[in-house]
Amino acid sequence: MKHRVAADLSGLPTFGHGPHSPTWWGTLGFMALEGTGFALAAGAYLYLALSWPAWRLSAPQPNHWPGTIVMILFVVSLVPNHVLHRHAKQCSMIPVRIGLVVMSLLGIAPLVVRWFEFPALNIYWDTNAYGSMLWVLLGLHTTHLITDVGDTIVLMVLMFTRHGYSGRRFGDVGDNVFYWDFVVLTWIPIYVLIYWAPRLG
């Protein structure tokens, strides 16, 4: 079939931030499916909790402090996270490097506290279904936390190399900021379910 040139694309930019970029949509897609996983795990917890009249099944209360500290660290981390986002959009290298170092540290810190969260549940996964669900919920969130911290560290290293001076890499930083928001956001319902729902029973 013969072609008839009807438009010129040569002036278009070679990268875009946020919803302009396919990677942003891909990240959103993965958030949607992982969010569904969180919702279903939480639903399974509630299904079991509502099926048994004395939920917690005579287990001791979990100690909420490690979880609360993680929550506080998460909320604090949102500030540098979004400062980083602004600099990523402007493609300015030095602040982005500083921001990624800060965010890597603010990712490792809750991970360290998370180590103490598991014993603070005051129950093992194989004691009863209540214990199983607590470990599952915490484990599910920890998987996401580890993944994102790993991603942040690799991206940080990358931005210290010559590969960093590229619009797409700055776009990746923006998507990393976006995903960290997701990790923080999903912690809120999980935190409530793990530490505060059992106190109702």
Partner: protein
């Protein structure tokens, strides 16, 4: 809309390069004003899959990956079909001693698992991997390396299941593996673990494809392909991908919970320790019912592509068909409990799910009537693809009618776990998905291979399949109503089910033979078929605008869309856009709703790392059926391969 509007003056959010710390853009030759021969040379050099074994294993071309998917899924169809033939020989007479109960349990489980997870879902997604980028007028799928990764994960999951079968270790707990039967107490050994991890492999793979498909449709549509000009097949794949995104995590959660119960002693499904066995069924069917529509919706998209091409007019009720797809996709999440009517649910809940099960017949009915109206008003040319569409109408409507019957609780309780249900879902799945798929094979085969399949053999194939299918499955309604239960490896002669089962087995054999004929036609067509040309059916969508088979870069210049059937609207010359680089894999990113050109984005180059990542992930899954520490040990190779995958290698595609 005139094609000038496509790039009309509007704000392009270009970052100011003076402000950012960016390496200057290294520009290369563009396609603007280039003659066709040099353009082809440049694009072929940039987009081709490298030669050699490593090159083949590194391919990220959506057509190459899709071809592999299609062939692999077809092999699994053959294997699943052989399972069925073995079962039908055993059931062809009362008390036959060919197959014992243990092997029979593995056979029907492998049949279900293979057909659902290794054939039906992968093959509809594979068709989408091939066709969606062509139909939206782009050069590759979004996230091509993720797409390649998904294929390797899928193959390893399938091989894992079938090697287990060869080792007498195949799952034997039914394709839905209910607890407590599949739990630690009643399923010792590794068979149920194989089920659980095979699920995880295949779901990871289809979730990856779903995300890639969604982003391709949202962001890579050709200029001018606004929402109202998206082909129905692409809509169907988009809705399906959304259903995958929201349904598949449920089965991953189910299989993970099961393997945790079995491997590390959690009690999620154990009622003795505060768990609940019914929770398994809820989680499984929250995936399992949408699964039916994951298989069915792409098939409706295929029907919506075949009918206008042969009715010689655009589809009647385009908007109605799109809205029906949405409605079916949404309602598919509200039906799962109708698989659980026999579990003693509260009456009100059961009534709700009866109502929603009947409601989904409405959008499906709308679709059928739109297709009939298209044919009615057109000048239908009866060729093999259309014959299979007629077969689909006939069989699927019967399956739909028994579906409405089964939605009623009293009837469901009577025929629960009998062959009536087996008949129903084979009418729905084979009628609703396999017949359109066979029609689609005849329809798009010329595009994929450049050659036609034999029309005469195609007609033979259709009638053999149609008669064989109905002979095999229609009598199952009767034998089910007489009380023959599912999943029994034999039955006593006194029950009088012998003759009808012999008839069913004969039909099944005929149906199997129809696939042998189909295979012959495929091979014969690929080797000796007549040359197809670009557009043998004179169809209207963009995949027919390029050569058959399409070149590695799909389109020499990005087409511009002005009509829902672009090739019918622009019969003389195709409007195209220029200005892309030819020395790097550049493609066009457009806006979600209007498909305005937005970014010249680089598409990923071939890479071996997705294969390594799949090996690391697959090895971890495999090891994890033996010890939970596999997750810890597997993390390091997974991390290394992912870093290898994403780390820039200095190609022009990695710059900017």
């Amino acid at each position: 809309m005139s094609s000038a509007d496509v790039t009309g003056d509007r704000h392009i959010p270009e970052p100011d390069p003076a402000k950012g710390d960016l390496a200057p853009e290294r520009d290369g030759p563009r396609d603007t004003g280039m003659d066709d021969a040099s353009l082809h040379r440049w694009l072929e050099r940039t987009w081709r899959t490298p030669s050699g074994i490593v090159g083949a294993l590194s391919s990220v071309d959506h057509k190459v990956i899709a071809r592999r998917y299609l062939i692999t899924a077809f092999v699994f169809l053959g294997l699943g079909g052989l399972n069925a033939v073995a079962m039908r020989i055993q059931l062809s007479g009362p008390q036959r001693g060919l197959i014992g109960p243990d092997l029979y349990n593995q056979l029907f489980t492998m049949h279900g698992v293979t057909m659902m997870f290794l054939f039906a879902v992968p093959i509809v997604q594979a068709t989408g991997i091939y066709l969606v980028p062509l139909m939206v007028g782009t050069r590759n799928i979004a996230f091509p390396r993720l797409n390649a990764f998904s294929y390797w994960i899928y193959v390893s999951g399938g091989a894992f299941a079938w090697v287990s079968f060869a080792l007498n270790m195949a799952p034997d707990v039914g394709w839905f593996a209910y607890v407590p039967l599949s739990g630690p107490e009643f399923a010792p050994g590794k068979r149920a673990d194989v089920w659980a991890q095979m699920i995880t492999y295949t779901e990871v793979s289809s979730l990856a494809v779903a995300v890639a498909t969604i982003v391709t449709v949202f962001k890579q549509r050709a200029p001018g392909m606004s929402l109202d000009k998206i082909p129905l097949y692409v809509w169907a794949m988009l809705v399906t991908s959304f259903v995958v995104v929201f349904a598949m995590p449920a089965v991953m959660i189910t299989s993970t919970f099961l393997i945790l119960d079995r491997l590390v002693g959690t009690h999620i499904f154990n009622p003795a320790e505060g768990g609940d066995a019914l929770l398994f069924q809820h989680l499984f069917w929250f995936f399992g019912h949408p699964e039916v529509y994951i298989i069915f919706l792409p098939a409706t998209g295929m029907v919506s592509s075949i009918i206008p091409a042969f009715a010689r007019r655009p589809t009647f009720g385009h908007l109605g068909l799109v809205l029906s797809l949405f409605a079916v996709g949404l309602l598919s999440f509200g039906l799962w409990v109708h698989h659980m009517f026999a579990t003693g649910l509260p009456k009100l809940g059961a009534s709700f799910f009866t109502a929603s099960s009947m409601m989904i017949a409405i959008p499906n009915g709308v679709q059928i009537f739109c297709w009939l109206a298209t044919l009615w008003d057109g000048r239908p040319v009866i060729r093999t693809p259309l014959l299979f569409v007629f077969g689909f109408f006939f069989i699927f409507v019967i399956g739909g009618l028994t579906g409405v019957m089964l939605a009623s609780v009293p009837l469901d309780l009577q025929v629960h776990d009998t062959y009536f249900v087996v008949a129903h879902f084979h009418y729905v799945l084979i009628g609703g998905s396999v017949f359109p798929l066979l029609g689609a094979a005849y329809f798009w085969f010329p595009k994929i291979t450049g050659r036609m399949m034999s029309e005469r053999l195609g007609r033979w194939h259709f009638w053999l399949a149609f008669i064989g299918f109905n002979a095999a499955f229609f009598p199952m309604h009767l034998v089910g109503l007489w009380g023959m239960p599912r999943r029994v490896y034999t039955y006593p002669a006194e029950l009088g089910w012998g003759n009808i089962n012999l008839f069913i087995s004969a039909g099944a054999l005929l149906f199997f033979l129809s696939f042998v004929l189909f295979t012959f036609n495929l091979v014969h067509g690929a080797l000796k078929g007549t040359s197809a040309g670009n557009n043998p059916w004179d169809a209207g969508t963009l995949e027919w605008a390029t050569s058959s088979p399409p070149p590695s870069y799909n389109f020499a210049r990005i087409p511009i869309v002005t009509h829902i059937e672009p090739l019918w609207a622009e019969r003389e010359t195709l409007p195209v856009a220029t200005g892309l680089r030819v020395d790097a894999r550049e493609l066009l990113i457009s806006t979600v709703a209007e498909a305005h050109p937005d970014i010249r984005e680089k598409s990923a180059t071939p890479s071996i790392w997705p294969l390594f990542a799949a090996l690391a992930v697959g090895g971890t899954f495999l090891y994890s059926i033996f010890t939970p520490w596999a997750i810890v040990w597997g993390a390091a190779p997974i991390a290394i391969t992912l870093i290898g995958w994403f780390w820039p290698k200095g190609d022009p595609e990695d710059q900017e």
